[in-house]
Amino acid sequence: MTSMKKILTVLLAFAMILSIAACSEAQEVSGSSDPGFSAADLSLSHGGSTYKCDVHIEDIISALGEGYTYSEAMSCAYDGLDKVYGYETEGADFSTRPDGDRDLVCEIYVYSGDWQTSKGIKIGSTADDVTAAYGEPSRATNFVSYYELPASNDLSTSASLYFYFDGDGVVTSFGIVAEQLIGEE
């Protein structure tokens, strides 16, 4: 009788441990799918390729071709020329800042086409979709939400992912911006 009690006690304890373990596993699954924003989200995809800032514009041209429009102006922020390479067919503008004799992509702005973020947000997604994917924005108005990384120093501004919305909270365009290093010119 005593041994039976022991066996039953062990079985009872084992059953409880299994239950707790199963619950813990479920919570881990939930945690891994929580919305959030990190440096890994600073990329956009289009046509099976992934695009990021802080690459030289030649890399973009190599990927998308030479069918772009071009404009430039002396920069009010950097020492040199601001340039914009517009790919109208793809629905994206690539802005650059001077990097010595070359130009680094400092912003990718997309306004049409099959662009999407690393978490699947695209033109036509809703503000709720954005919040579900990335959480609450770092800064927001009724027109735009910014998801920002901490800047590397007090003078610089953050690298960010942003979404523009129409009056109904639908994403009309979005983009990524590289960290803007200030005061280094």
Partner: protein
């Protein structure tokens, strides 16, 4: 006894499953819904062909897809020349004056009692008439200004807010008609609602802030000298405060003073001309 133990065992397992099932449901439902919402969202605006919208979950990059990421090795110079002529050419001379006569800054007559809300004590100046812009401006004023502070201190707080919260975006602004009221409203609203803009946007928003606080201002078209010594087309504003006119240049302060942005706040002509040039005949003298 056996029966009791068996019942206990059964209860324990049921309890475990029930609590686990409830927890799983509560903790995972939001993410499942979120995922479903994203995929169920409108696939594209009217201008986008639905067939081009990927239906697959985009969390994983295609294994064969080229990835355009930062490369450590410098690549070759661009093989192609820009397809179009530059839309804006660098200017070696001061910008065209917006008018023959010096800009006159309309005087303020708040006529409002100085007690009560921030709108009655601080934001006593002129509104733009654009509700979205005026409301956004008031919201910032409420956040950073104080009824106990001086006009200069409140303007300084707004200047600081702009340098800390707004970032540069290289957008070309059509100034062929000068800084009309419509243009000022348009670009100031763009900046305060998106946090990003060029020097013209910063000049316009600073002017709107100044006007709203009762320090009437005008936007200035001129040039600044960059680190290479080249003159660059630029914009800032001049405001009237305590009977004197002073330059305020938010963008230059933020981007070219190595953290000393306030050196570009309420500056006289003499000091400002070290780094800026403008047609002095077109604007009030800041002496």
């Amino acid at each position: 006894m056996k029966r009791t133990a068996a019942i206990l065992l059964l209860l324990a397992m049921l309890f475990g499953l029930a609590s686990c099932g409830g927890g799983t449901s509560a903790s995972t439902e939001p993410s499942v819904e979120a995922s479903a919402d994203v995929s169920a969202a409108p696939s594209a605006p009217a201008s986008v062909e639905p067939s081009k919208i990927p239906s697959e979950e985009p969390s994983e990059e295609p294994s064969e897809a080229p990835s355009v990421e930062p490369s450590a090795e410098p690549s070759e110079e661009p093989s192609a020349e820009p397809s179009e002529e530059p839309s804006v050419a660098p200017s070696e001379t001061p910008s065209e004056a917006p008018s023959e006569e010096p800009s006159e800054i309309p005087s303020e007559d708040p006529g409002v009692e100085t007690s009560g809300s921030i709108e009655e004590t601080v934001a006593v100046g002129t509104k733009t008439g654009d509700d979205v812009l005026d409301d956004a401006v008031l919201e910032v004023i409420e956040d950073v200004c104080s009824a106990d502070a001086s006009l200069e201190d409140n303007l300084g707080a707004l200047f600081d807010w702009m340098t800390k919260n707004l970032t540069y975006r290289n957008v070309t602004v059509d100034l062929s008609n000068g800084y009309t009221d419509e243009l000022v409203i348009d670009i100031a609203k763009t900046l305060i609602t998106t946090y990003r803009g060029a020097c013209e946007h910063n000049a316009a928003l600073m002017k709107v802030f100044c006007d709203r606080l009762g320090a009437p201002a005008v936007c200035v078209s001129g040039d600044f000298k960059n680190e290479s010594g080249a003159w660059v087309e630029h914009a800032w504003c001049i405001c009237e405060i305590d009977g004197a006119y002073r330059h305020i240049d938010v963008l230059y302060g933020r981007n070219h003073t190595h953290g000393n942005a306030r050196t570009m706040f309420l500056v006289t002509d003499d000091k400002f001309s070290d780094t800026h040039r403008w047609n002095a005949e077109d604007y009030p003298a800041c002496e």
